[in-house]
């Protein structure tokens, strides 16, 4: 019997639910405009080549084609990138990966656009392909960019590992290989670009940060930001993948050039080839402990394959380096990481942000140590766990928290761990259990501009208008805004008008990323609620003649002794607007450690797996999970994020790999890129939310968008070991490897 439970009550339906369950909601890729053209982008034929000739004449001559554009048509900067604009909008000299754009067309039908693309003639001179980050790092390798192939180095050192290792009784050294995962948002990149009569450009395309898209587009189009309006929510999923620009530059230039609306909607294959992915990493760890279980030394080397362009590669690496010791106290640590350019697919932001990879390796080390020490994995973790007021993993000051020990205590109660390991009667089926723990930073971290804010006002319809520059990517942001605002103000959800996803209407809140949305909305309302209610009551007192102190804000208006005396509509006056805004920064650690975090959330996961020794298949049958991320804002949203993140992690562990050979994707659609289906999920999943925070913690709810994705992989691998005696070091777990291991074991 499928059983998906949690300790949370279910919540009221999401504000965006109606449109979604009825199919009435128009996504940007559903939009049609009069006179609309269809755009298509020509991507490179080679992972690395010189462009010798580019001839667009034959494409231009095709009837129905209205524009063919190349680098010559970029009005401003021919480059984009969230931090460094090193990715050309159109390549004109060299292509560095198969997703590089060379030209684009707009035509009256998608079919004609496709035919026109095929008529563009490009002559390439193939260059040597750099598909392996370690050889790309070699100083003799051809540099893909002027600064060489090492995009970013990051390190952390504490104590002295050379002094630490000799003190250890057990040392584990292992290399872990993590795959390139695709976000696989169900709605591929797309939208419509509309030149307006007043000369402005409207961009209808999903992103995680409308203002950032506006800034990037302004540079490319050589327009002032005010002349661009980015309408950016909702969308059919993102998971980090749509934070960076994708089709926007092409649609925008084509629309401006033709003076007509242009729609681009990438096919799954185009999305796969051009879209960013999760960083493949090779992580080597050497970890030593004394007989007592005390971990003494930990040495880490991370090689991250960042692909052809920077995007958020440096920040992802910093995050991995920061989380290399997780929630443990280790006196001697040496971590060194490299993000390396290759001709492979571009890697960038992905839910988990480097935490998944590093935690897989770290928890793998802890489990192997436990095994060698003949100690229970839970006990070893407990023994080395940080205390509530200890510094963060890179020695930085953080908000005191014992979330790690709370989730560990909770998971200790999981009946899975008490399982009597009696294998089924079938000698070819082995079961095993595993547990893992993680600590995950929220926000962008020290040294990265991380401003946020919001605005609340009473509008002419008598609605309380609450506006944020955050985006609804599917995570349930609107429900979070609704719940936090109604609770802070005391009004009902019908009184609210929520405004997001439109740069003409919203304040700057920063990106909907890094599990920061929920947290920042809560912080905004803490600042907005006092002054806003004050203003409402001042006006109400003036209008009604009652003392302000007698009045309160409630459902549909202002109340006195249990009676509503004024509606919000009656409070609105054109010449006395009631409006408050707030601006502040995401709390960071005061210590100057690039990307160092201040707020963390925690999760512990217990799993049970069944290994089929005949097919090598792994079936996860149970997942128990404890999460500590502060108060729950929206129960359905919270469980949904954890369950959804968990199954995305299950795909990462057992199924998914955007494999490349010679820097070309060998999987291009869902027939070979295998996503978890409903058949792959465990029959039982439990989520326990631990809402307690450290006494005096003033930082409220933390986001839960990422925390559910991190600890599952190491727990599954530990369970496979428990079942078979074989340690897996490479994801996704291959059936062949399991079968091979069977030969070794028997």
């Amino acid at each position: 019997m499928a059983d998906y439970t949690s300790n949370l009550a279910s919540s009221r339906p999401r504000p965006d639910g109606m449109g979604k369950v009825t199919g009435a909601l128009n996504y940007f890729t559903d939009l049609q405009f009069p006179n609309m053209l269809y755009g298509k982008v020509l991507r490179s034929e080679h992972p690395h080549a010189k462009i010798q000739q580019l001839n667009i004449e034959k494409a231009e001559q095709l009837p129905g084609v209205l524009a063919v554009i190349t680098s010559k048509d970029v009005p401003g900067l021919n480059g984009f990138g969230l931090i460094t604009q090193d990715q050309p909008v159109f390549c004109d000299q060299v292509v560095r990966y198969v997703g590089d754009a060379v030209a684009a067309v707009a035509a009256i039908t998608p079919e004609i656009a496709e035919r026109a693309i095929k008529r563009i003639e490009v002559t390439y001179e193939p260059l040597p392909i750099m598909d392996d980050p370690e050889s790309a790092m070699n100083p003799d390798s051809t540099p893909l960019h002027s600064g060489g192939n090492i995009l970013h180095e990051a390190s952390y050192e504490n104590g002295d590992v050379d002094e630490g290792f000799p003190l250890c009784d057990v040392i584990i050294e292992e290399t872990y290989l993590l795959p390139r995962q695709m976000h696989a948002y169900m709605e591929t990149e797309g939208g419509v670009f509309v030149p307006e009569r007043d000369g402005r450009l409207s961009v209808y395309a999903g992103t995680q940060h409308g203002y950032k898209d506006r800034l990037q587009l302004a540079r490319i189009l050589n327009l002032s930001e005010e002349r661009i309006r980015v309408i950016s929510s909702p969308m059919g999923g993102s998971f980090g993948g749509k934070d960076e620009l994708n089709i926007q530059p092409y649609g925008a230039i084509l629309a401006l050039k033709t003076g007509r609306p242009v729609k681009i909607h990438q096919s799954r294959r185009e999305s796969m080839i051009s879209g960013i992915k999760k960083h493949p990493m090779k992580i080597t760890m050497k970890t030593g402990a004394k007989k007592t279980g005390e971990i003494v030394a930990h040495e880490v080397r991370i090689i991250a394959d960042t692909g052809a362009y920077a995007t958020l590669g440096p920040a992802v690496l910093d995050f991995a380096v920061e989380h290399a010791i997780g929630p443990y106290v280790i006196p001697n640590v040496k971590t060194k990481g490299y993000a390396v350019f290759t001709n492979n697919g571009v890697a960038g932001e992905f839910r988990g942000f480097g935490g998944n990879q590093i935690t897989f390796a770290l928890e793998g080390q802890i489990d192997r140590l436990a095994d060698d020490l003949h100690m229970s994995p839970l006990k070893l973790r407990k023994k080395n766990l940080r205390q509530g007021t200890d510094p963060g993993p890179v020695g930085q000051m953080i908000a005191p928290t014992n979330g790690d020990s709370l989730v560990l205590d909770e998971i200790t109660q999981s009946p899975l761990l008490a399982l009597d390991k009696r294998d089924s009667d079938n000698p070819w089926k082995k079961t095993g259990v595993g547990v893992a723990l993680t600590m995950h930073g929220g926000g962008l971290g020290f040294g990265r501009m991380d401003p946020s804010g919001g605005k609340i006002s009473l509008n002419h319809e008598g609605k309380i208008e609450i506006a944020f520059g955050f985006e609804e990517v599917g995570q349930g942001l609107l429900a979070v805004i609704e719940n936090i605002t109604t609770e802070a103000i005391g009004c009902s959800s019908e009184d609210l008008h929520i405004v997001i996803g439109d740069t003409d209407k919203v304040p700057h809140s920063g990106s909907s990323t890094a599990s920061r949305g929920t947290s920042m909305i809560w912080h905004s309302l803490q600042r907005l609620k006092g002054p806003f209610k004050e203003k409402l009551l001042d006006t109400a007192a003036k209008r009604s003649g009652y003392q302000k102190e007698q009045l309160c804000v409630g459902e549909k208006g202002i109340w006195l002794n249990g009676q509503r005396i004024l509606t919000f509509e009656q409070l609105f006056l054109e010449n006395e607007p009631i409006s408050i805004d707030t601006k502040f920064d995401f709390p960071t650690t005061p210590n100057s450690i690039p990307g160092g975090h201040f707020l963390y959330s925690f999760a512990a996961v217990a799993v049970k797996v069944e290994v089929d020794l005949i097919t090598g298949a792994i079936k996860v049958t149970d997942i128990d999970q404890a999460v500590s991320a502060g108060p729950v804002v929206n129960p359905n949203g919270y469980i949904g994020q954890i369950e959804g993140g968990t199954i995305m992690a299950l795909g990462y562990t057992l199924l998914e790999e955007a494999a490349m050979q010679q820097s070309r994707y060998t999987t291009e659609n869902f027939d070979t890129y295998i996503l978890p289906t409903i058949q792959d999920i465990p029959p039982k999943m439990n989520v326990r939310a631990i809402e307690d925070l450290w006494e005096g913690d003033m930082y409220g709810p933390r986001g839960v968008g990422e925390i559910g994705t991190v600890a599952l992989a190491p727990a599954i691998v530990r369970a496979i070991y428990d079942a078979t005696g074989h340690w897996v070091t490479k994801l996704p777990v291959s059936r062949e490897e399991i079968l091979h291991a069977r030969e070794m074991v028997f």
Binding site: K20, I639, G644
Partner: protein, 162 residues
Amino acid sequence: MIEKVKVNSQRINISFTVNGEQQQLQVEATKRLVDILREDLSLTGAKISCEIGRCGACSVEVDGELVNSCLMRAYQLNGKSVYTVESLSENGLHDIQKAFLEEGGFQCGYCTPGMIMAVKTLLEKNKKPTDEEILDALSGNICRCTGYAGIIRSVKKVIQAI
């Protein structure tokens, strides 16, 4: 690079019903049902995601069976009866839609129209499906957001109410 099979296709006349309404259209013989729905009939509930029959985002009901509308073409449509997600809420929300709302059966919502149609065709044939039958019926519909648990809770809620 060919995403859509593009043969030099003739326009043909087709006659079929969509959500109970008779439709006479002249379209290319190889035009996909999903494009006919979205472009010719402005019914954008059925979504496009993989275009090779692997994700179910485009699922609709044709003559009582769940069909990937990205795989069905105009020349196969004559005399058929097609139902899309838009038909469900013609007289207020359908029980399946209510359950999805209450149990968190969706997040981004992009898979939801297809998923709901898959549940609908299942329950029309089998009012009390077993767990295994539920999983079987929904296994062609991919959801990247929910991890399916909320979807299963939704389906169970509908079944319990029957």
